[in-house]
């Protein structure tokens, strides 16, 4: 059994780390590793104890990097390890595995191990980064490897075990298999990262509290008065922090047990789906009228027999152009005689836009529309401050799963095989972007109406810039990654900063000071949108050079 688990986990791990998403997330984590230990003159910090921070010795650098990056990897890493079961389902590997004697729990355990290996490998790279950071900062050149790397083992690894497990758990639940699971994980992560730092939590929360307590004890021992509390998260400083010498944290048996229990919880969460996961039996569960996203993206030759309510063989048994129609077409023998209307060239931009809008909104449930309608209604009814501060962020969170389709659908459904030989590449991109803008505008219609009625020109300008920015971001990230997940992983934290009242990233004009928008100026948001638009076209050009795809050459030719 050990061999089976190892084989499954290693094969899956290799497949995963060869994907661009792994490299991108890892690069972001390494960058954050350096950010976690900023230069002594910096005005920002990731970890602080009131107005103090530790001298950059092995213990402090290791702990700060492990905590900051553990939190990041537990968020971004979830989106990297997501879809391992889905991929097996789509590629058909799942059915091959289902036909082996391997038990369901063993399959899940192998997948969990693989997820954990992927995220732990990131933690490993960050541990090496911490060593480099300590030497680069040069405040204390003595390297204590135990003090430097122990936090990665005790703090970061148990933390990243949770997304490794929840990614599997969500995939085993049909409702959370798609974008809803991605959004939910962001919420879970916010609760975990923010709420898990407090004292008196079961199992010591995410383990930060014990570390903070050790720092306080060292400060007291050095008779230093602290102004403020322990803080973990990007903070801007008015003055650089004062330093103290922290000797590190010596975990007791209880702490180690609590961290091990954290890992144990992750294992339980990962294996829990064994109770209901029916491997890859296509006959299990209710079949939709249309296939799931994965099935739909397979080519016809890979598809299963007729699905859903369509009567089997109803159409397949008929030849192309029945005999009666052939004779009616003039008895030319060729079925082409049935095609009497020559295609004439005409204006198509509006129809392309309508087509892209239809594709963007395909399969959206009526409940989504009811929700969108409710937000519009509440936006119209709210006073201006409520419409911008509350209703606009809510309205522009609602379509997040639909926006994330931009730039990805033709790849996810495999339609790029056909579209690659079609003209108008440029026009299609513009039409797709315009469909995204229309969706954004409709979703934010309520607050817009309120701003217009109130004659708030500045607010309308911010709203308009936001309405152009969100689809631009979605299209750029979708085109870059060809998956929904990158936009979801980027947009949700961005939106969260706005919803929490941080004006620095406010792209929609939600936050106001003295009645005026206090966020990013609309011109800046528009400029960023234009850059994102350029990214979309540039991505095509770069891919053309990289892969030699003539389809992207067409982008230039159009």
């Amino acid at each position: 059994m050990t061999r089976v688990l190892r084989g499954l986990a290693v094969a899956d791990f290799k497949d995963r780390v060869r994907r661009p998403a792994y490299v991108v997330t890892l690069a972001a984590a390494v960058a954050l590793g350096f950010l976690a230990v900023p230069d002594s003159g910096s005005r920002w910090v990731i970890m602080q104890l009131g107005d103090h921070r530790g001298v950059y010795n092995s213990a402090y650098v290791g702990t700060a990097t492990a905590l900051a990056c553990g939190l990041w990897v537990s968020l971004g890493g979830f989106y990297v390890v997501r879809d391992s079961i889905g991929r097996d389902r789509r590629t058909g590997v799942g059915q091959l595995l289902a036909a082996t004697p391997m038990r369901t729990w063993a399959y899940l355990a192998g997948k969990f191990l693989s997820n954990l290996l992927v995220l732990a490998s990131m933690v490993g790279v960050l541990a090496a980064t911490a060593l480099v950071t300590q030497l680069v900062r040069g405040e204390d050149m003595r390297v204590d490897f135990f003090a430097l790397w122990q936090p990665f083992l005790l703090l970061a690894v148990p933390l990243v075990a949770l997304p490794a497990a929840f990614a599997l758990f969500f995939e085993a639940l049909p409702l959370l298999r798609g974008g809803l699971g991605n959004v939910l994980w962001f919420c879970v992560w916010v609760v975990l990262a923010m709420g898990g730092q407090g004292p008196g939590l079961p199992l010591g929360g995410i383990g930060v509290n014990g570390v903070a307590k050790s720092m306080y004890e060292d400060l007291l021992a050095q008779k230093i008065t602290v102004d403020g509390a322990f803080s973990l998260g990007l903070t801007y400083l008015d003055e650089p922090l004062q330093v103290f010498n922290w000797h590190g944290f010596t975990p007791d048996a209880g702490y180690v047990l609590a961290r091990t229990a954290f890992l144990g919880i992750a294992v339980v969460v990962a294996l829990l789906p064994a109770l209901w996961f029916r491997r890859f039996d296509p006959a299990h569960g209710k079949r939709p009228a249309g296939p799931s996203q994965g099935e739909a993206s397979a080519g016809p030759s890979q598809r299963e027999a007729p699905a859903g309510p369509f009567p089997s063989g109803f159409v397949d048994e008929a030849p192309y152009g029945d005999e009666a129609t052939r004779s009616a077409a003039g008895g030319r023998g060729s079925v082409l005689a049935l095609l009497r209307t020559p295609p004439e060239q005409g204006r198509v931009l509006l129809r392309l836009w309508a087509g892209e809008l239809r594709i963007l909104l395909q399969g959206v449930s009526k409940w989504w529309w009811w929700g969108a309608g409710l937000w519009v209604f509440l936006g119209v009814c709210s006073p201006v401050p409520g419409a911008t501060r509350l209703m606009l962020p809510v309205a522009w969170l609602w379509p997040v799963l639909i926006w994330s389709r931009l730039g990805t659908q033709r790849y996810e459904h495999g339609v790029d095989g056909i579209l690659g030989a079609y003209p108008s590449t440029h026009r299609r991109v513009v039409a797709e972007w315009a469909a995204g803008v229309a969706l954004t505008a409709v979703a934010g219609l309520g607050p817009l109406a309120r701003l217009v009625v109130a004659g708030d020109a500045a607010g309308v300008a911010c709203w308009a810039a936001g309405a152009l920015f969100v689809p631009s971001l979605a299209l750029a990230l979708g085109t870059l990654s060809r998956t929904h997940r990158l936009f979801q992983a980027v947009y949700l934290p961005l939106w969260y900063t706005v919803a929490n009242g941080l004006p620095v990233f406010d792209f929609m004009g939600a936050i106001r000071i003295e009645g005026q928008p206090a966020g990013l100026p609309p011109a800046v948001v528009l400029a960023v949108s234009a850059v994102l638009g350029a990214v979309v076209f540039l991505t095509g050009a770069v891919r053309r050079i990289g892969t030699g795809s003539m389809r992207r050459l067409g982008t230039r030719a159009n």
Binding site: A296, A298, G321, Q345, I418, Y422, P423, R544, G548
Partner: protein
């Protein structure tokens, strides 16, 4: 007269894999069947011809224009059906085709009428209200062929179109391609010899990224005339037979194993010369490229022979 020309086209992928090697093909009206084993470079060549993939070197010329530099010139006159393609599962066939017609730049009025005619042609009229996600593989092929014809193309490129279809649907599809070939330039790739045999008057055999042979079915058959033999051999001798000759068929009978093979002279005592078919000709061309038959082909293997049979 050549409508589409692929001149010295090569495609080298990352890692140095040369999928297409200096291939030249001139295509005029009619159907050219591109035949080759898996991995021969057929799909790469089809994608190059369809402007989806840019060749590493060489030129693709359509009506005097180099479409590597200006792909839209060909795209406006092209119908392409890739080997595997997807659809938007929640759209109906009509909605999907309308979108593709708009992408082709076809006016609303003519697109509406033409799509109705296309749906009638491919016999999907009664299924138009269903989402594409509920279609079977055969029905999706029909949607695929409808999108090929939406712009009244001069050039049609279809890559392994019969893969995954049941025998009846394969026959219908081949017949449709035959109809199309009467008026248009059709490039049709497959690794199934019977597909090409039944519709193409012009065959190109490719292997290892190179064009090995091009000609009519009759010319290809002529090459292998007198080289095809049938014999019944001892089952234990089959591995040796396969090692020495290109074997096109192997059937176990109660007398032994009846083999059909290619050999320049009588391979075994009792072996009977038979009329070649296109599968034999294809094997001859493909195996001829790497060589087949043992070093002492003329030496019969009497121990292996159970008897000869005529077909």
């Amino acid at each position: 007269m050549s409508v589409l020309q692929l001149c010295g086209v090569s495609k080298v992928y990352k890692g140095g894999k040369r999928a297409v090697d200096e291939m030249t093909l001139h295509l005029g009206p009619g159907m050219l069947g591109l035949l080759g084993p898996n991995g021969a470079g057929k799909s790469s060549l089809m994608r190059i011809a369809a402007t989806v993939t840019r060749p590493t070197s060489g030129r693709v010329v359509f009506q005097g224009e180099d479409v590597v530099a200006k792909p839209n010139v060909l795209r406006k006159a092209l119908g392409y059906l890739p080997q595997d393609f997807g659809v938007y599962p929640h759209l109906t066939a009509r909605e999907f085709l309308r979108y593709l017609a708009a992408a082709k730049g076809i006016s609303c009025r003519s697109a509406t009428a033409r799509i109705d005619e296309l749906l009638e042609l491919v016999n999907l009229t009664e299924a138009v209200k269903r989402p594409l996600g509920a279609y079977s593989g055969g029905m999706l092929r029909r949607v695929g062929i409808a999108q090929v014809l939406v712009g009244d193309p001069q050039v049609i490129v279809v890559d392994e179109p019969t893969a995954g279809l049941d025998p009846e649907e394969r026959v219908r599809f081949r017949n449709l391609l035959s109809d199309l070939g009467a008026e248009k330039v059709v490039l049709f790739s497959t690794h199934i010899v019977s597909d090409v045999e039944s519709v193409a008057s012009d065959i190109a055999v490719v292997a290892g990224g190179r064009l090995l042979r091009r000609g009519t079915p009759e010319a290809l058959l002529g090459e292998v005339d007198g080289l095809v033999w049938e014999a019944v051999v001892d089952p234990a001798a089959v591995p040796e037979v396969r090692a020495r000759y290109a074997v096109s068929r192997l059937v176990r009978t109660k007398d032994g194993v009846r083999v059909r093979l290619l050999a320049p002279c009588r391979p075994y005592e009792g072996a009977v010369r038979v009329l070649p078919d296109l599968e034999d000709a294809y094997l001859h061309v493909v195996n001829g490229a790497v060589g087949y038959g043992g070093s002492d082909r003329s030496t019969p293997g009497p121990a292996a022979v159970a008897g000869g049979v005529a077909r």
